[in-house]
């Protein structure tokens, strides 16, 4: 079979990842903000006896810069291990993409231009002359709308049939002479010598180092060149000449009919970022998100629980029929099965509601506005405004938030974002916190129960935000000392996502992913819980020894030994904290019923719970070490055991201090 390797290159946020997903049937989650793809991914697609292998590179404004994602993209292009480069641009803002096209044409001989979001451009009254553009650029141009599956066949056809082009030869004016001089001293370089000469001229250390053995320019000669060019700002000169070329290539290509949409967007932006309403609207969105999740998840959770419970007897009968020893059967049913269905029934419904809603806001383009609104506070903490984006992702899943911190260029600021991400409670903590709020702070028969519950939850998240700022500030004054680096953030146009697709893809890519992880953890956890509760030493179970041992620590924090044990056993996944806790209280050696929240409350009260216990529990639930998956992600992202350790201790310390303070005050 014929094989074609294709590099997908594009400026940030042009729908490149969507295009990639559709072409390769892959599931990179896309979001409406710049820098969502931080590493490249590989995917395949087979069409009529031809195998296309796609490499989705991170979005870049240019391929001569130095930020992490840009180096990933440029390095890939420089290695030349592909056949065709497809540059994806945004039809609504062609100019910003064409620069990238020209830069690629300076390095690659087979280029196809894919003008994406063509439907959006039409809606905005933008007309693009395809023939003229193709003639000017000297490469095939394809119009697509990945969202609507438009133009993709034509894209594949063009990729397959594209002919070799000449490297683009831009007139760099005063620099031409020196480019020619350096060209003569480049030996054995398989790509375009002119490109490498330009990198030498602008003294790009990364590429000078990479091609050290190819650049034979001697020091005296270079010194002379530098002296002659002393008064020329070389990078600026390159950019200006490039810009002129872009204007030439685009002459007469784009026709705009009206600017109505742009004005409408500015109006929405003015409200979302207004002095009075900006912050309240953000909190209101957060509140709405929780409220819908809470009311929506109630009934399905109950139904799932009853369903799984009703299967329990059948399962026991089945195991008996197979002559499985009673002890093993008990372990399987009361240990594994019960933990498993607890996690599924409590976790799945809120996730199935929360993730699509969250994805909707994300795809719409709201998140960058939140970052814009909150940046001042981050700047005061010497941190990066993009940290707000990682915090939003953390509400979905802390591990995702930690990975997302890659969008922050400065290493110092990135680590601040990683270390503080856990202060945003993840999805897995919500059901537990909501249950405790309902029992102890709202009252069970309150008709506005869900509303008040969502309000209190929003309050706790707000506390999380405040703590994030406080700790970020402290970090930037102590172990991560430094000034805020430069910050630029693109505010992308709003894009109304396709509702059904958003739901399907967010469930498929996120909810199921998190759920499968929780299930994987719940099975071994179920075994451990059962063993701890059922293995007796001198008449007492291991669990009772542990609880007694932990009790003094618990009391100091306004809690008790059982809660501490539950939090310890919950390290692999926060979802199992409550079932473990209840099991300990009841000493029934198995997990108990969840459907009757009143009965649950009574169990807690009988075991000495008061409103103080509830507050301390929620605080410690919010602020303790990250779950094991997040810890592994932190280790991977920081590459440092030291920071991983701090990520573990820091939130725990905050939680312990807060609990002790509450314990003393009450």
């Amino acid at each position: 079979m014929k094989e074609i390797k294709v590099a997908l290159i594009g400026t940030p946020n042009v729908g490149k990842s969507s295009l990639y997903n559709i072409l390769t049937n892959n599931h990179v989650h896309t979001g409406n903000w710049a820098g969502k793809t931080v590493d490249f991914t590989r995917g395949e697609c087979i069409k009529k006896k031809t195998k296309f292998i796609f490499y989705d590179l991170p979005g870049t404004y240019s391929i001569i810069s130095k930020s992490k994602e840009e180096v990933v993209a440029t390095d890939f292009i420089v290695q030349e291990d592909f056949d065709v480069a497809v540059v994806v641009t945004d039809a609504t803002s062609l100019e910003k993409g064409i620069t990238l096209v020209l830069q690629v044409q300076e390095m690659v001989k087979k280029v196809v231009l894919c003008v994406n979001l063509i439907d959006e451009a039409k809606k905005k009254g933008i007309d693009i002359d395809k023939e003229l553009l193709s003639n000017n650029l000297g490469c095939p141009v394809v119009f697509t709308s990945a969202k609507n599956n438009m133009g993709l066949d034509s894209l594949l056809e063009n990729i397959e049939n594209v002919l070799e082009q000449n490297y683009l030869d831009i007139n760099y004016g005063i620099l031409n002479k020196y480019i020619n001089i350096i060209n003569d001293d480049i030996v054995g370089y398989s790509g375009n010598k002119k490109w490498l000469s330009l990198r030498v001229l602008e003294n790009n250390k990364h590429y000078r180092e990479m091609f050290r053995d190819k650049i034979k320019l001697d020091k005296n000669k270079e010194k002379q060149i530098r002296e002659e060019l002393l008064n020329v700002d070389i990078p600026l000169e390159i950019v200006i000449k490039m810009k002129r070329e872009v204007k030439n290539k685009l002459k007469g290509v784009v026709k705009k009919n009206s600017n109505n949409n742009l004005n409408k967007e500015r109006k929405i932006d003015k409200i979302l970022t207004s002095k009075i309403w900006g912050i309240p609207i953000m909190l209101l969105m957060l509140f709405g998100l929780f409220y819908i999740t809470i009311i929506g998840a109630n009934y399905p959770s109950d139904i799932l629980f009853s369903f799984f419970q009703s299967l329990e007897d059948n399962l026991i009968d089945g195991l008996n029929f197979l002559h499985i020893p009673t002890v093993i059967g008990d372990l399987l049913v009361n240990g594994v099965y019960k933990t498993l269905y607890w996690v599924i029934s409590v976790m799945m419904p809120p996730m199935l509601i929360f993730f699509p809603l969250f994805s909707f806001l994300e795809d719409l383009g709201v998140l960058p506005r939140i970052a814009f609104n909150m940046d001042k506070a981050f700047s005061k903490c010497n941190a990066c405004g993009k940290q707000a984006l990682t915090m939003c992702m953390g509400i979905g899943c802390n591990a995702v938030g930690v990975t997302g911190a890659r969008i922050i260029d400065s290493k110092r600021e990135r680590i601040i974002a990683i270390l503080t991400n856990v202060f945003m409670p993840c999805n897995g903590k919500f059901p537990t916190i909501i249950a405790i709020i309902t029992m102890f702070m709202v009252g069970l028969n309150n008709i506005y129960g869900s509303l008040i519950c969502a309000l209190i939850l929003t309050g706790f998240i707000f506390l999380g935000i405040v703590v994030t700022f406080g700790i970020s500030y402290l970090l930037s004054k102590t172990i991560l000392k430094g000034e805020a680096s430069s910050f630029t953030l693109e505010l992308p146009p709003y894009r109304v996502p396709k509702i059904l697709e958003t739901i399907v893809s967010s469930i498929k890519n996120r909810a199921i992913f998190v759920l499968v992880r929780a299930v994987k953890v719940a099975i071994p956890a179920g075994v451990i819980i059962w063993l701890v509760a059922n293995v007796n030493i001198k008449g007492l179970s291991i669990m009772e020894y542990l609880v007694d041992f932990l009790n003094p620590v618990g009391l100091m924090l306004g809690l008790d030994g059982v809660i501490i044990l539950a939090l310890l056993l919950g390290f692999p996944a926060n979802e199992i904290v409550v079932p473990v806790m209840l099991m300990c209280y009841l000493k029934t050696s198995t997990l108990i019923d969840f459907t009757n929240i009143e009965a649950l409350k009574n169990i807690l009260i009988v075991n000495g719970w008061t409103i103080k216990t509830a507050i301390c529990f929620i605080l410690l639930m919010l602020f303790h070490y990250p779950c094991s998956t997040t810890m592994l992600t932190i280790k991977k992202e920081t590459g440092s055991l030291y920071y991983t350790l701090i990520a573990f201790i820091l939130p725990l310390l905050v939680g312990v201090i807060l609990c002790m303070v509450v314990n003393i005050i009450f």
Binding site: S93, P235, F487
Partner: protein, 78 residues
């Protein structure tokens, strides 16, 4: 008269004169389209006055005042 980008009034169009500052930030600004001769204007101000967002190269880019100081601009009528 030359002023820096962070000082311009909202919704007033200016021309870029010069981009200064450290290599990295300068490079980033150039990539984003802040090139001498180009037009830009401030279109949004965040709730706490800083950062502001600018329309450049058909794009909206948020920049902190501290960084915007590196971009020198002038009003076209001058």
């Amino acid at each position: 008269m030359t002023i820096t980008l962070d000082k311009i009034k909202k919704d007033e169009e200016v021309l870029i004169k010069r981009v200064q500052g450290e290599e990295d930030i300068k490079r980033r600004f150039l990539d984003l389209g802040f090139v001498p001769g180009e037009k830009t204007k401030c279109v949004l101000v965040s709730p706490f006055k800083d950062p502001k967002a600018y329309f450049i190269n058909n794009n909206i880019i948020a920049i902190r005042d501290k960084d915007a100081k590196n971009i020198e601009v002038f009003y076209e009528r001058d």
